[in-house]
Every structure is written in structure tokens, then in C-alpha cells.
Symmetry: C2
Subunit: 404 residues, 2 copies
């Protein structure tokens, strides 16, 4: 790909036409010039012009003609989603999951490292580094080939990508997640709370993709909530929306205690293991385990009902690690909501298992790239958007406002 140096000569109109054309081809890859011209409303001559330039700059590529085509078929074009790479990471209590994807969000490789909730800061960050290195190596991408990083963490995140408050993980309050990743990987680092990103993932390509107002319940190590309102992630004035679980009356603190009370549970509080033991026993017909699950759901339902009565969403999505046990949770939760709510919304189970949060982090990174493309004065070539780690140039971007 050649950058048409000096490069900065696209007029404002030219830039807008380029963006419109790229938008059309991202929606519908493989269009001909005639089709692009019709979809964009640009003249045939302008279309040819812009396509040629975007091909030269490396934003577009030809789609190979189908084998056996007769005569000389019209050339077809696609957006080069492979022109750039983004990284999404979920720094969780039980696992670190890193995903490398192309500009359309297609995951190329993932790195997963098991961690323990009791781990300290250093160990967890070291595991993060390994998960990221695995994902990059597997995708064949250098650290400075990453255009943007989205990172999910439990707790509250400040505007600079630091953890303001985490009660779930030891030594986690105060960790500078954006700084840590920014020194290791290229591109700005956007950091956000895990429940919010799980909601973003469902809204992007999950159970909530056709809904405008959605409550996501992240059921796992802790119970959390993420809100999509009017199609956009709702962050709140101080980026602390969705924290209803902090209120004792929500029942979410007690809900976890039920699971911990299970005799087979690790008294040190590895809740995930405890939960798995309870769910498994309940599935096997153990009555006491079934009662524990019932109590857990009943308490989670109080806070969920408060969210539903407050927002009257179209949809509630159950996500997080426990969504794998949806067979035991979803129907009882529906019944409990029916008991409390004026209008019980549809309840769906996430199909992402424990990967929803990492997918949301990926979306956060993609939102940043899309915004940069839209707002950059000169589109240039894709190589403009790859930059080394923060130490080598432009730094981490904090959490940004990558709402959708």
C-alpha cells in the first residue's frame, strides 16, 4: 500500500465522501463501482476517483472474482478490515481473557490465563501481560500494530483509566490499568467497568442487539449491572451507573452469601468454585443445593426488579460466568420478576458465556477507532493509526467516551 504523500490534500468534502464510501462497503462488502455509486449517491466519476485513492492508500481491496466467471466481470471492492488490529482484555477475578480482532471485530486469536480472586496486584498484572502476549503472538501481530485497546476491570474506573475502587479483588484499588497496558501495547487504552462492557457486547452483537433499553445482569464473582439506554451505554455522571448492588436492600450482597454457605464451598471464598459446586449438585437433584440456588435467585431478583421498575427496559440479559447455569437461573428469575414488576420484560441469557466482558472491551476499542476515522482531518493511509506503545509516542487515552 502506498501513502499518496504528502497525503494531507483530501478536501473536507473528499474526506466525507471517502468515509461514506467506506461505510457503505463495511455494511455490504463486494460491491461494484456502479453499486457503490448508487448506494452513496456519488457520481460515477467521483466514485471511481475515491475508490482509486482508497485502494492506493490501503483502505480498500479487490474482492477476487468467483472462479469460473464468464467474460470479464466488474471489479468488486471491500473495506480492508485487516488493515488494522484492536485488542480487548477482560481482567477478571478468575481469568484474564485477551482478544485480538480486525477492524470489523472479527476475533483472530485469544489468550486466556486462569487466575485466582485472591491474587495480588503484581501477579494479576503479570498474568495480564501473558494473556496479551499469547493473543498477539497467536494473531501474528506486533504490540505496536494495535490501534486501540479496550480493557475491562471490576470496580469503578476513573477518567484516566485507573481503578478508583474495587472491593472484589485485593490490592486492585488504585491500579493504573491504562498506564500499564499503554506501556506494553500500541494505541490508546480505554478502560471501563466489566458490567458496563458486558452490556455493550450484548448491544453490539448479542442478545440485546435489536433492543434500545436493556438491563444486563452480570452474574458471577459479584453481581453487577450494565445499562443500555436509548441504544447507548449509560455511564452516569461519575461513571458509576449500575452499582445498585452496593445497596443492601438490593439483595445482591446476601445473594453471594448463599452460595458461599454451601458446605463444599472453599471457605476462603472462591465464589466461582462454590457456585459451580452448588449448581452441579442442584442439577443432580440435591434438594439442599436447589434451595440454595432458589435463595440466590430470589435475592438477585430484588435488585433486578429495582432496575426493571426504574428503567422499564425492553429486555433483561443474564450474562457473566453463571450464565452457563442459566438452566437453573433464568426461569426462576423470570418468575421472581413477575412477582415484583409492573411489566416484566423479556429475560434472555447471554450466548457469550464468560467472554461477554472481553467482547465489550473489544467494542470499546473499535468505537475509538471508528471515532478517530470519523474525526481525523485527513484519512491518510491505515498506517497512520498504528503507533507504538505510549512510552514511544502518543499515550493512553483513559476511558474516553466510546459510548454507542
Amino acid at each position: 500500500m502506498t501513502d499518496a504523500a504528502p497525503g494531507g490534500d483530501l478536501s473536507q468534502l473528499r474526506r466525507l465522501n471517502s468515509l461514506a464510501l467506506i461505510g457503505v462497503l463495511r455494511e455490504e462488502p463486494g460491491l461494484t463501482l456502479t453499486e457503490i455509486s448508487r448506494r452513496t449517491g456519488l457520481s460515477r466519476a467521483s466514485t471511481e476517483d475515491v475508490v482509486r485513492e482508497l485502494l492506493e492508500r490501503g483502505w480498500l481491496a479487490d474482492v477476487p472474482a468467483a472462479a469460473g466467471a464468464v467474460g470479464r466481470p466488474a471489479r468488486r471492492y471491500r473495506f480492508r478490515a485487516d488493515a488494522g488490529r484492536v485488542l480487548g482484555v477482560d481482567i477478571g477475578g478468575h481469568k484474564i481473557l485477551a482478544l485480538v480482532a480486525d477492524l470489523d471485530g472479527t476475533v483472530l486469536h485469544s489468550g486466556r490465563i486462569a487466575v485466582a480472586p485472591a491474587m495480588g496486584r503484581k501477579q494479576r498484572l503479570a498474568a495480564l501481560d501473558r494473556a496479551v502476549a499469547d493473543a498477539l503472538a497467536g494473531a501474528g501481530v506486533a504490540a505496536d500494530g494495535i490501534w486501540a485497546v479496550g480493557a475491562a476491570t471490576t470496580g469503578l474506573v476513573d477518567g484516566a483509566g485507573r481503578v478508583m475502587l474495587s472491593e472484589a479483588l485485593p490490592e486492585w484499588t488504585g491500579v493504573d490499568v491504562a498506564g500499564h497496558l499503554g506501556r506494553r501495547v500500541g494505541g490508546p487504552v480505554l478502560v471501563e467497568n466489566d458490567s458496563k462492557l458486558a452490556a455493550l457486547a450484548e448491544s453490539w452483537r448479542g442478545a440485546a442487539r435489536y433492543a434500545k433499553d436493556v438491563v444486563l445482569i452480570l452474574a458471577g464473582l459479584r453481581t453487577g449491572a450494565g445499562l443500555i439506554i436509548d441504544g447507548k451505554l449509560h455511564r452516569g455522571f461519575g461513571n458509576a451507573a449500575g452499582e445498585i448492588g452496593a445497596l443492601p436492600a438490593s439483595g445482591w450482597i446476601r445473594a453471594q452469601e448463599h452460595l458461599k454457605s454451601w458446605p463444599a464451598a472453599d471457605p476462603e471464598g472462591d465464589l466461582d468454585a462454590a457456585a459451580e459446586a452448588v449448581f452441579e449438585a442442584a442439577r443432580a437433584g440435591d434438594r439442599k443445593a436447589a434451595a440454595v440456588v432458589r435463595r440466590y435467585v430470589r435475592d438477585v431478583a430484588v435488585g433486578a426488579a429495582a432496575l426493571v421498575l426504574t428503567l422499564d427496559p425492553e429486555l433483561v440479559v443474564i450474562g457473566g460466568g453463571f450464565s452457563r447455569s442459566a438452566d437453573l437461573i433464568a426461569e426462576p428469575l423470570r418468575r421472581e420478576l413477575d412477582r415484583w414488576c409492573i411489566r416484566t420484560p423479556e429475560v434472555r441469557v447471554s450466548e457469550f458465556g464468560d467472554e461477554g466482558v472481553a467482547l465489550g472491551a473489544l467494542r470499546l476499542a473499535l468505537d475509538h477507532v471508528d471515532r478517530e476515522l470519523r474525526e481525523s482531518a485527513d484519512l491518510g493511509g491505515p498506517e497512520r493509526f498504528a503507533r507504538g506503545p505510549a512510552g514511544a509516542g502518543r499515550g493512553g487515552g483513559g476511558r474516553g467516551d466510546g459510548g454507542r
Copy 2:
């Protein structure tokens, strides 16, 4: 005012220019042609043209020159807010309040009729008719001179302007508020829940006018909540947002019981009278009354904290009848929120007393008029927007979607 018959000849561009010019003069009345031309970006000739036409049609008027002006000052123009009238009504438990206003929302006259919570449907609707008649007569407006009606009611409202469910008032579930008013007053009737409209009023010209995310707590006969999210009234998928009070864990049901428990309270449950008695006694230094107020605030604070933790708003506004006793409520509520919330938002008291809901109803009507102006294919003259009651022509519009 003359309607330039046949009237339908404004081109689309002409219509947009007219709307832009009206918008400029609504923001800044009293501009000269030169100033209008500068603000709108229209040429001098176009500005003159559009102004002349809008003057003829009755949308604009001259602003009289200041007395003692030397020479011949440039003509100045204003939007004729007096070209139309809207009506806002609050159909409450203790009062009916009807406001007639001009197109800028300046209230011209109000009608207020005291009612009792125990009143049946017929009596309440008869009182509504009287309040509306008083307001219209006082403002010197005929029933068919009203361009749009906004109406507030307790309970849940369906898309056709009927009360789906009201637990606060007897015989109120099922009342067709839009139909009732539409047969008596001109213009479409938009009906909405009282807490939602109280929030709309604060966002329009009250304590929340500079805030994007706001929780309004309507403290009165019942405790209710209205939400402004991203600057817009949040209605919810089934128009049932803000109903967290229905959840026992919110404490809002019990909060009212404390007030009713006051010995001087009417056992038949006129909560407003009971509340006034308690607040008065507490103010006079009665310790038992102070304890009742404390318990009331403590319980209201649980639901309020749930809203705050969920949405992380910039601002909480205390509205409704009890806001007159804010001296006893606001500071303790702040302290309770501090106890439960991660980030306690600012708490302000509505300055509308018990008129906030009616003002919100007015805004609902104005939103409808603004939308009709924006969307009408031909602006015509103001007389186009006045139409007789529903029986005589176009009917009530249900609750519409007059969000801001």
C-alpha cells in the same frame, strides 16, 4: 392577520428558512432585519422576504420602538408567542391545577380546585372541567383556541392517554383522560404520569435545567420518581419507568405509613393533611413528630439510593407537595444518600411547590406544538393550529412521544 391564500405555496426551502428565522426570534426577540440576516445566515433579500411573509401570516409582530428614539429607528421583530395557547393540567389527589400559557410557556392564567383523594371518578372529572373552565375564562381563551393539551395523572398511562393502573385514587384505573379532555378543549391531548412530568418541568425551567441526568423524587400523596437521562425524559419500553416505589424493598410504601401513623392524622388516609400535621409539629419541636419525619426520610432514602446507584445522576431534585417542607427533608435525605451511595449527587429542592407537575404538563403540550411546527409541510398561519374539540374534528393524540 391575513392568511396568504391559497397558503400552501411555501417551498421546502422557504419553510426551513421560516422555521430558522422563527427559532432565532424565539431565542432573541427584538432583532432588526440586519441582525436576523446575520444570525440565520440568510441573504438580506431572503430575510426581508421571509419576515414580510411571516408578518402577513401572523407568526411575527413588530416590536414598538422605544419612546424618545431619535430619527427613524430600524424595525424590530418578535415571534408572536401570543398567536396560540396551550393548556397544562395536573389531575392530582388533592387538587386539580390547570394552566393556560402562550407558545413560549408564559402562564396567562391558572385554575385550581381542591379535591379529596377519596373522591370518585365522576367528581374528580367534574372538578377537572371546572378548573379548566376557570383557567380558560381567566385567560380569555375559548376552548377551541387551545392548540394542545398536556395532562398529568397519577398511575400508569397507556399510549391512547388512558389510565392503565392507578392505586392511589379510587375508580381511576381505566379513565380515558385524553378522551375526556379532547371532547372539551381544542387540540390533541397528551397524557403522562405525574412524576415524569414533574421531572420534565425541572429539566425545562427548574432546578435541573443545566443537568443531563436527573432523578426527580415526587414526594407527596405517593412517592414517585421521574428520570431525565441524557437530557430527555426517560419513559421506558412500556411507559412504566420510575416505578421503583412498587417494590417493597424500596421503602417507599412503608415511608407513607410512618406519616399515616401520626395520631393527628385522618385515619381515612388523607396523607397530605397527616403529613402537614407531622411536619408542623416537628418544626415546632415535637420530638415524636421529628422521629416520624426521620423514619419517613430514612425509608424514602432507600429507594432514592437505589435510583442514584443505578443511574449515577448529576442531580436529585425533591419535588411534589412535600417539597414545601424541604427544610425538614432535604438535609436528612442528603445524609442518608451519603450513607448508601458511592457518589452522592447534588440534592436540590424544586422551586415549583405543588405546581411542578402542571408545568410539566404544559411543557408536554408545548413540545407537541413545536414538533407540529417543525414537521408541518406548510407553515400557513397560526390559525391552522387551532382546531375545535375532538368531537368537531381531529381527535386526541394520546400520550404521544413529546420527550425533550
